[in-house]
Assembly symmetry: C2
Homo-oligomer: 150 residues x 2
C-alpha cells in the first residue's frame, strides 16, 4: 500500500537538498515486508562532487549495504521526481518491487519520458509504477529552486 508518509520523508530530503544548493530531489527506500524505512537521501551531486550522486542512487546503495545484497526484491522506492535513465536502470538492476514518484520530469525523466528505460524488451525487471503522490509539494520545491537560479 502506498504510504503518504514515505513520500513526505522524500519531500523533506528534497527540501534539505535544495537548502544545500542541490536540485531538490529526495528518495526513500522501504522494506515492503515490515514497512521499515531502509534509507532516505537527497540529491548530492555538487556537495559530493559525484555525477552519480542522485537521491535514488544514494538511497539504493545504502539500502543494499544494510540488506547485504545487491537485489532489493521486497523493497519499494519513493522519489519526488521521475527518475532519469541512470536511476531507472539502477532501480531495475536492484529488482525494486514498486516505484512511486511525485511528479513527471519531461526534460530529464527516463521512465515516462526520454529513453523510457522500463519499456524495452531487454529490460529484465520492471517495477510497478505509481505516479502523482504529493505532486504539488514536489513541483513547488522544483519551481522555487529553478526560479531563484534564473
Amino acid at each position: 500500500m502506498v504510504s503518504i508518509n514515505h513520500m513526505k520523508l522524500a519531500i523533506a530530503e528534497a527540501r534539505e537538498a535544495s537548502q544545500m544548493g542541490e536540485v531538490p530531489v529526495g528518495a526513500v527506500i522501504v522494506n515492503s515486508v515490515n514497512g521499515a524505512v531502509l534509507s532516505s537521501h537527497g540529491n548530492r551531486v555538487e556537495s559530493y562532487k559525484d555525477p552519480t550522486a542522485h537521491a535514488e542512487i544514494l538511497a539504493l546503495r545504502e539500502a543494499a549495504r544494510l540488506m547485504q545484497t545487491p537485489r532489493l526484491k521486497n523493497c519499494d522506492i519513493y522519489v519526488t521526481l521521475e527518475p532519469c535513465a541512470m536511476c531507472a536502470k539502477a532501480i531495475s538492476l536492484a529488482r525494486i518491487r514498486r516505484l512511486y514518484f511525485a511528479t513527471e520530469d519531461r526534460k530529464g525523466g527516463g521512465v515516462e519520458n526520454g529513453s523510457r528505460v522500463f519499456s524495452h524488451k531487454s529490460c529484465n525487471h520492471k517495477p510497478e509504477i505509481y505516479v502523482g503522490i504529493r505532486e504539488e509539494e514536489s513541483q513547488d520545491l522544483l519551481r522555487k529552486f529553478f526560479k531563484e537560479r534564473r
Copy 2:
C-alpha cells in the same frame, strides 16, 4: 586519439572481475589533455553488494573524486562492453568527451541497443562514440565466463 593500451587496461580489469566471480567488464577513464589514467575499475556488484557497482560507475566516481568536480569535461572512458542505460546516462551526466567500447551488448546495452540513452532529444550531452577496440578479447572473456556458469 584512441589508445589501444587504455582498452588493454580495461580488459585487465574485466579479467580480474571475472576471477572474483563478477561479470567481466572493466572501465578506464583518461584525462584527454595529458593522457593520464584517472581511474580504472572492474565490475563489483556481488563483492560490494551494490546494484550500482558497474565498472563505469565506479570509475566515474573515482575520477570525479580525483578531479574534485562532477563534470569530467575533458575525459574519455574506455569500457570493455557497451554500457547499460544506467552507465550511459551517468557518462552523459559526467560530460565525458568520448566513449570507446570493445563490443556491443545486444541484451543489456543502452547505447546502440535497448533504451539508446544518447539518441533522445532530451539527452543534454552525448559523447563521441567509438566501437570495436579489442573486441575479440572482450568477447572471449564474456563467453568463457557465461559458459562456465551454465
